[in-house]
């Protein structure tokens, strides 16, 4: 788990623990982010999920998340390879179409040269790949003065 992250265009301590595989019988606690299926299962069982976020993969249906948005502090979207762009559409849906106001976290193969596209699609939080220079990567956010989309 990274110690530092970029959040809201600043380097900051990484607060969340990504639990990509939830151990059998484990009860997630606030500050953890678990797979959507686990979150839904535990919620149906009446577990206290206050402060627990969800992971939604690019090939997963995002629709069930919509009803949960008010209860989710963070939605984490994985980039198994930086060239896999599916989660840009998830982020766009969450932020622009559904008005999600919590954090949208990118993790996995997250590199400096894609940060701007991610940020403009709705991500505000980034667990970058380990070898990335976080402070140098901040430059990605100020490369352009204006854009053609989303006025």
């Amino acid at each position: 788990m990274p110690r530092e992250m970029i959040k809201d265009r600043q380097v900051t301590a990484a607060p969340w623990e990504l639990v990509t595989t939830l151990p059998e019988g484990a009860r997630p606690t606030a500050g953890q982010i678990v797979p959507l299926a686990d979150w839904l299962r535990l919620d149906a069982a009446g577990a206290d999920l206050d402060g627990v976020g969800v992971i939604v993969a690019g090939d997963e249906d995002l629709a069930p998340v919509r009803a949960l948005l008010a209860r989710l502090p963070v939605v984490a979207l994985p980039f198994p390879r930086f060239a896999d762009g599916r989660c840009y559409s998830h982020a766009r849906r969450l932020r622009a179409h559904w008005g999600f106001e919590g954090d949208i976290l990118a993790f996995g193969d997250v590199l400096r040269d894609q940060l701007l596209y991610m940020s403009r699609s709705g991500f505000n939080a980034f667990y970058l790949r380990e070898d990335q220079d976080l402070r140098a990567s901040l430059a990605a956010f100020s490369l352009y003065t204006e854009f053609y989309q989303y006025h």
Binding site: A83, Y88, S89
Partner: protein, 557 residues
């Protein structure tokens, strides 16, 4: 033509600065080639057999004389003195050095050009009818819509890492001169009860799985054109296959879902954004850029007609290279980039500069590139035709061969491309040399021959009346012949994918085989039937016999 706003100009310069830094990090070893590859491709830069190739966008084919001169300068200063116009209205330079590319891009920015998204898995250069604005059969000038889409998808953050490349083509005319049928999204203007709209198709494409596009919406009001396009892209981005590069184009998704389910997904996606209407005042505003204000009252002094009567060469050029115009007395003139024996679609440095001068003298400083890899001066006065012809002839750009066997399409092939399995330019040269006699070419009539040096089909062989595909057989170059393809253009009838006629032939058999196909056509044709019409009427059998009879006989003996 469109001119950059201060925002466009700044945006393109900021893009160059971003890429310059990426090149610096690559050269410093901070970026791996795997990480750098998509970044350079999005900026038009390929690593080919001998050097880097830079593909520069010519949005929907529109070029100014200042841009043409700049391309000449780039050919001279940074390349080996030539550039290659592509079937998607772009231009390529094949001898680039990586460390110089940012400077080349700055030169381009000075004349309002860029190489943004000419490659990569993103929305590519948007192509259109080269006769937009002047064609007599035009319903609407689609260039404002092309520009709107170009801007909307320029660095669109959601769609820069699609499963695969994504190509739009638009036409506003009754005849489709933009090959919309074989694009990921093809957009055709239609009128319904006097109202303008667009028929939007998706899932066309060539490569190893050629498919014609299928209609997603038969009537999209202009104000919904961008949102419908976005909905299609979102469906593709989410559901397009990413497990296999060869199954990643939208044509595969449309095929696997079926058009009804695909349409339902698009409709669902569109419902979420349908409120976001295109402001039609913006279309009107952009339209002003494309209106030509150089028309004069008496454009034709009769000189061209008089010369035609006494100069057979000029008459042939008028017949084949000069096309109808919606304004009486004006003509659209096609500059043939297909002189026999030369690489199709190329200009050399001196020609860039000279053509730029002719654009200034005769065409308000503009020209258009075409799907067939030629150039068009769209607004030539009748009174100027004679003088223009003499100038073009001196430049070897007046070959009166448009629409003939000499006017073939070809990719660069093995000479440059690292994907290619086989040569295409030298074979194209051999074909045009074999049919260099114009009377013979005219006798063979209207025909589109299209050749690709590999299965990626940059030469659109699937759309050729005669298609030729270079393949590699145990280290030797072989060529697969196909017949009956059509991009659905004027005189071609409905769009169709060419059918392979038999085993691939050896390199030294290609030209003879083409000749046999054409001989067979001459035997079979009825009246004034064109090659494609004859193929459609008689089928492939006689053509197969013509090409393979000797081989079969030899095998039997």
């Amino acid at each position: 033509m469109y001119r950059y706003t201060p925002m466009d100009a700044r945006f393109v310069r900021e893009r160059v600065a971003e890429f310059r830094d990426q090149v610096r990090r690559r050269l410093a070893g901070e970026l791996s080639e795997d990480e750098f590859r998509p970044l350079r491709l999005m900026n038009g830069l390929y690593l080919q057999r001998h050097a880097y190739m830079l593909r520069i966008a010519i949005p929907y084919g529109q070029l100014s004389s200042a841009q043409m001169r700049k391309l000449g300068y780039i050919a001279q200063r940074y390349d080996r003195g030539f550039g290659h116009f592509t079937t998607r209205q772009n231009i390529q330079f094949h001898w680039m050095a990586l460390e110089e590319v940012p400077d080349v891009l700055m030169h381009l920015a000075e004349v309002e050009m860029n190489a943004i998204q000419t490659s990569g898995n993103c929305v590519r250069n948007i192509t259109s009818d080269p006769f937009s604005g002047v064609a007599p059969d035009e319903l609407v000038d689609v260039r404002p819509y092309c520009e709107i889409l170009r801007q909307y998808f320029a660095l669109h953050p959601e769609f820069m890492y699609l499963p695969r490349k994504f190509k739009f083509a638009l036409t506003g005319a009754r005849e489709d001169r933009a090959a919309t049928c074989m694009h990921d999204v093809g957009i055709k203007a239609v009128l319904r009860d006097g109202q303008l709209g667009f028929e939007v198709s998706a899932g066309g494409g060539l490569g190893r799985t050629p498919r014609l596009g299928q209609v997603v919406r038969d009537f999209v009001p202009p104000e919904d054109l961008v949102s419908v396009s976005e909905a299609i892209l979102r469906v593709y981005n989410l559901y397009g296959r990413r497990d296999n590069k060869f199954k990643a184009r939208i044509k595969i998704l449309v095929g696997e879902l079926g058009i009804e389910r695909f349409r339902a997904e698009v409709d669902r996606e569109h419902a979420a954004i349908a409120h976001d209407k295109l402001d039609l005042a913006r279309v009107a505003e952009l339209q002003r850029y494309f209106e030509y204000d150089g028309y004069v009252a008496d454009p034709d002094d009769g000189s061209a007609a008089r010369r035609r009567a006494v100069d057979p060469d000029f008459d042939r050029w008028m017949t084949h290279n000069v096309q109808a115009h919606r304004v009486p007395g004006y003509h659209a003139v096609v500059l043939s980039l297909k002189p026999p024996g030369r690489p199709p679609g190329d200009l050399i440095t001196e020609q860039f500069y000279a053509v730029a001068d002719l654009m200034d003298r005769f065409n308000g400083g503009r020209c258009v590139t075409t799907y067939e890899q030629n150039l068009v001066l769209q607004d030539v006065r009748g009174a100027d035709l004679s003088e223009l012809y003499d100038a073009l002839r001196a430049l070897r750009l007046a070959s009166p061969n448009i629409g003939t066997i000499q006017d073939l399409i070809s990719c660069p092939g093995l000479d440059y491309c690292s994907l290619a399995n086989s040569s295409s330019i030298p074979v194209a040269q051999e074909i045009t040399e074999r049919f260099a006699d114009l009377d013979h070419a005219y006798e063979l009539g209207f025909i589109h021959l299209k050749m690709s040096g590999c299965i990626n089909a940059c030469g659109h062989h699937h759309m050729g009346h005669i298609g030729i595909l270079g393949i590699d057989k145990r280290g030797e170059e072989f060529y697969q012949l196909s017949l009956g393809g059509s991009a659905g253009g004027p005189g071609e009838g409905h769009p169709a994918i060419a059918e392979i006629i038999g085993p691939a032939v050896a390199r030294d058999q290609v030209v003879d085989s083409v000749e046999r196909l054409l001989d067979c056509y001459v035997e079979q044709r009825q009246g004034t039937e064109s090659f494609i019409q004859t193929v459609r009427r008689v089928g492939l059998t006689p053509f197969k016999a013509a090409v393979y009879a000797e081989r079969e006989a030899a095998r039997a003996a």
